[in-house]
């Protein structure tokens, strides 16, 4: 793996690769995930799920289940408060447990807690539910059809300033310039229609929690999530409780990728525990995860792009339709807004989000951007090939830089798109010949990244070691990143720092780990807390040296007073009792200035034209990290995003029966890539520091999933001459496209 570091290295610890603090526990299997936890007297909770994709609940009879051996509690939607459909928590509340209508196959209608898992399963099967089965809406086209059945009657046209039932979640246009004039001025116009299927985040760890409601009525929750403060607030809102009645302790998380920014189990486990006065553990099966937790949305994108003969991109016009699944969302608008990489002077993008009777969609790394980039980058590739231009050159010619306007209208801050593409252009991969019989594809991706609220407390211990306490679950190595930023700021060896993720009562409020925000925003909080600690240590050192604090400098982890030996952190903390007590500092913030991240990918593929199998021969990903705090985990994010994007591109799809039942709800039939499917994913870290972060961090968790689909589509086109416009680009679909192409060529 290569690391291109544009600015000269100026840090002692930031940018190094220490072993992660939680690494040994994880590789030896000792780390505690939610399903590993057990409490004395614990019950097992099991859901009762709808066998229909759309139905009215006529009645639920739990009496037989309640009488079964080992059963201690049963709950239904009737135990949960009614929530105003306009309230932000409404959709999640209904998704956790249906009230009067089930909105997708696998929607929870009741739950049972029993002494053993087998007893709970038997009792769940004995819950009798009567339904009036309704027509399910399963596709974007079906949702938008004239006279279509309303898939979720709580969806209203409020976004249009009206209040009618609808299958539309949102409609929003984005635009600038004069599109008609732009196309009239274009020398080359490419017009295509792209479709993508719903795909799952595919985290290895199924959703799980353990809940114990005490005699005082307070719920203690141990859960795997991307944000335990959000688990607390969402659970409280769904139950109608105060947050003071709920404590959430974060378990280790076995992957989230956006899919664990929402909750599914916790409010139900609270109810079951409360009713039984016993702790309750709930662990989803893989089948439940696939059927009833949020996939990324399916999309249909009509697009038309115009360019001049010299490669100048003049115009883009598109209609982007995304399915939100069973509830409202902004998926389509996010897709349009992520069209932010090129200076199209004329832009007209209309977006539609639909609501149907598939499971409620959830975020997935750079949500909605991969689908939109599939369309945009495929068209640019086609224009480049039509004009005989290098695929990187045409993009460099049109790439946005600081101050250029995004599709949503706001200007880009300092960004590194050109540097990222240049890194691929300069790479050994790009400058080596394409293997015989193979095709090479290039593509790019963008994601905004966000800031939001974070808190950190840093305690200096009496021996000069430190504890860094945050509220950001460690999804991709953030413990190590927090320790490195604290180490750099304090001048303390990172292995003398213990990074901790504290429960909701032991650290300040912290937003969900999403939007590639943890290293950026929580890292800023950690840095600020450390800067405050340095001020404290300078004051203590001044006392110890008998000088004023402003005569003390902090250099490389020690207090310096002219003409005297440095005072180390350990020497200062060793005298803490004598100089005023323990040294501790807390910082909280709502971080502005998140730096957008760009990625550029290059792939060589071979396509077996008899079977349609695509083999990736070589794959390189470059991405602007701003500053790579821990390069190994930046590379890990880039590789993880690439692998997931490759799966999305080549194999993954939700397959539904006509009555809305997912037919491939197992990892046997839902084909994610495994190690043997992939070559070594090469990485190039580009560093164009974000000026709004003390160490230049941009956040790297999401952008890497955006380019693989378009990069592979472009590579497949280079290899076969076939422009793939429908996902997945699986063997049968490739074979079909090749056959159609051959037939078309023969007709000509």
């Amino acid at each position: 793996m290569t690391a291109v570091e544009n600015p000269p290295k100026k840090y002692k610890y930031v940018g190094t690769r220490p072993v992660r603090h939680d690494g040994l526990e994880k590789v030896t299997g000792k780390a505690r995930f939610a399903a590993d936890l057990s409490l004395t007297g614990q019950l097992r909770g099991v859901m009762v799920r709808s066998p229909h994709a759309h139905a009215r609940i006529k009645s639920i009879d739990t009496s037989a289940a309640e009488a079964m051996p080992g059963v201690k509690s049963v709950t239904t939607g009737a135990d949960f408060p009614d929530i105003d459909p306009a309230a932000p928590i409404y959709d999640e509340s209904i998704n956790v447990i249906a009230r009067d209508e089930v909105l997708y196959h696998g929607h929870v209608v009741a739950a049972v807690a029993a002494t053993t898992l087998s007893e709970a399963r038997a009792a769940a099967a004995a819950v009798k539910v009567e339904y009036d089965v309704l027509e399910p809406i399963l596709t974007i086209e079906g949702a938008l059809a004239d006279g279509a059945t309303i898939s979720n009657k709580s969806t209203r046209t409020l976004f249009l300033g009206q209040d009618d039932e609808t299958n539309l979640a949102s409609v929003a246009p984005f635009g600038r310039g004069d599109v008609e004039a732009g196309f009239a001025d274009a020398d080359v116009i490419v017009e295509r229609f792209f479709t993508t299927k719903a795909v799952h985040q595919g985290y290895i760890e199924p959703h799980a929690c353990v809940v114990d409601v005490g005699q005082d009525g307070k719920a203690s929750i141990w859960a795997s999530s991307q944000g335990h403060f959000a688990v607390r607030s969402k659970t409280a809102d769904i139950l109608g409780w105060g947050t003071d009645k709920i404590k959430v302790t974060p378990a280790e998380i076995g992957g989230g990728f956006g899919g664990k920014t929402t909750i599914y189990l916790e409010p139900i486990a609270v109810k079951l525990s409360q009713k039984a006065s016993r702790p309750v553990k709930m662990v989803m099966t893989r089948e439940e995860v696939l059927r009833a937790t949020g996939p990324a949305p399916a999309a249909e994108i009509a697009i038309k792009v115009g360019a001049k003969n010299d490669g100048e991109l003049t115009t883009i016009q598109s209609t982007m339709k995304y399915s939100n699944g069973s509830a409202k969302g902004y998926a389509a608008m996010l897709g349009a807004m992520s069209t932010a990489s090129y200076r199209f002077p004329n832009l007209d993008i209309n977006t539609m989000g639909t609501v149907d009777n598939t499971s409620k969609s959830a975020a997935y790394r750079a949500p909605s951007a991969p689908q939109a980039a599939f369309a945009v980058e495929s068209c640019i590739d086609e224009i480049a090939k039509t004009l005989g231009m290098d695929p990187i050159e045409i993009r460099l010619q049109n790439a946005v830089v600081e101050g250029d306007i995004t599709a949503m209208g706001a200007p880009h801050p300092k960004i590194g798109f050109i540097e990222t593409m240049q890194a691929i252009k300069d790479s050994e991969h790009y400058n080596s010949p394409v293997p015989e019989g193979a095709g090479r594809g290039f593509g790019t991706g963008f994601w905004f990244n966000i800031g939001e609220q974070s808190s950190a407390t840093v305690n200096l211990n009496e021996d000069g070691t430190a504890t860094v306490i945050t509220g950001s679950p460690d999804i991709g190595g953030s413990r190590a990143s927090m320790a490195l930023m604290a180490a750099e700021t304090l001048g303390l060896d990172p292995m003398r720092i213990t990074p901790i993720i504290a429960d909701t009562e032991s650290v300040g409020f912290t937003d969900i780990t999403e939007g590639s925000r943890a290293t950026f925003a929580t890292g800023m909080a950690v840095t600020n807390a450390c800067l405050e600690l340095i001020d404290q240590m300078k004051q203590r050192a001044a006392m110890m040296r008998g000088v004023e604090a402003d005569q003390v400098e902090w250099v490389d982890g020690a207090a310096i007073v002219d003409g005297q030996d440095p005072l180390t952190i350990a020497e200062i903390t060793g005298q803490a009792k004598q100089t005023g007590g323990p040294l501790t500092s807390t910082a909280s913030l709502n971080a502005a200035g998140a730096g957008p991240s760009f990625a550029a990918h290059l792939a060589d593929v071979a396509v077996d034209e008899e079977t349609g199998v695509v083999t990736i021969l070589r794959y390189t990903a470059a991405q602007d990290a701003g500053t790579a705090i821990h390069p190994s985990y930046v590379e890990g994010q880039m590789q993880g995003g690439s692998a997931q994007g490759i799966g999305w591109a080549l194999n993954e799809e939700y397959i539904y029966s006509d009555d809305g039942v997912m037919e491939n709800a197992s990892f046997l039939d839902y084909r994610m890539p495994v190690a043997s499917d992939l070559p070594m994913l090469e990485t190039i870290i580009v560093e164009v520091p974000n000026p709004s972060h003390p160490y230049g961090v941009r956040g790297v968790g999401e952008t890497g999933i955006v380019p693989p689909i378009n990069t592979l589509a472009n590579a497949i086109h280079s290899a076969t001459g076939v422009r793939m416009t429908d996902l997945p680009m699986s063997p049968p679909n490739i074979l079909k496209a090749i056959t159609l192409q051959k037939a078309s060529n023969e007709q000509k």
């Binding site: 807004m337 997935y364 949503m408």
Partner: protein
């Protein structure tokens, strides 16, 4: 007066106007003035939008963020992530 740019989605409430001069020392004050001029718009900006001030994306909900007299504001749909 700050220059405010709205999404086309918001412009349904402004008779199509997407660039406006608006007074107000904070984001909240700008939203209040916009709501006074275009009743009903405020809720879409305060509850359902992100805002960039002079190109820097602000955290959601920062209605107290200061707005300078020459500031340029872009109201966007909520940006989250995965």
């Amino acid at each position: 007066m700050a220059t405010v740019h709205l999404q086309a989605d918001h412009a349904r409430h402004t008779n199509g106007e997407r660039e406006l001069e608006v007074g107000g020392a904070t984001v909240g004050a700008v939203i209040d003035e916009l709501d006074a001029r275009f009743p009903g718009l405020g809720v879409f900006l305060s509850d359902g939008a992100s805002v960039a001030i002079d190109g820097e994306l602000q955290p959601r909900g920062t209605t107290y963020a200061p707005v300078g007299p020459e500031a340029v504001l872009h109201f966007l749909i909520p940006i989250t992530g995965g």
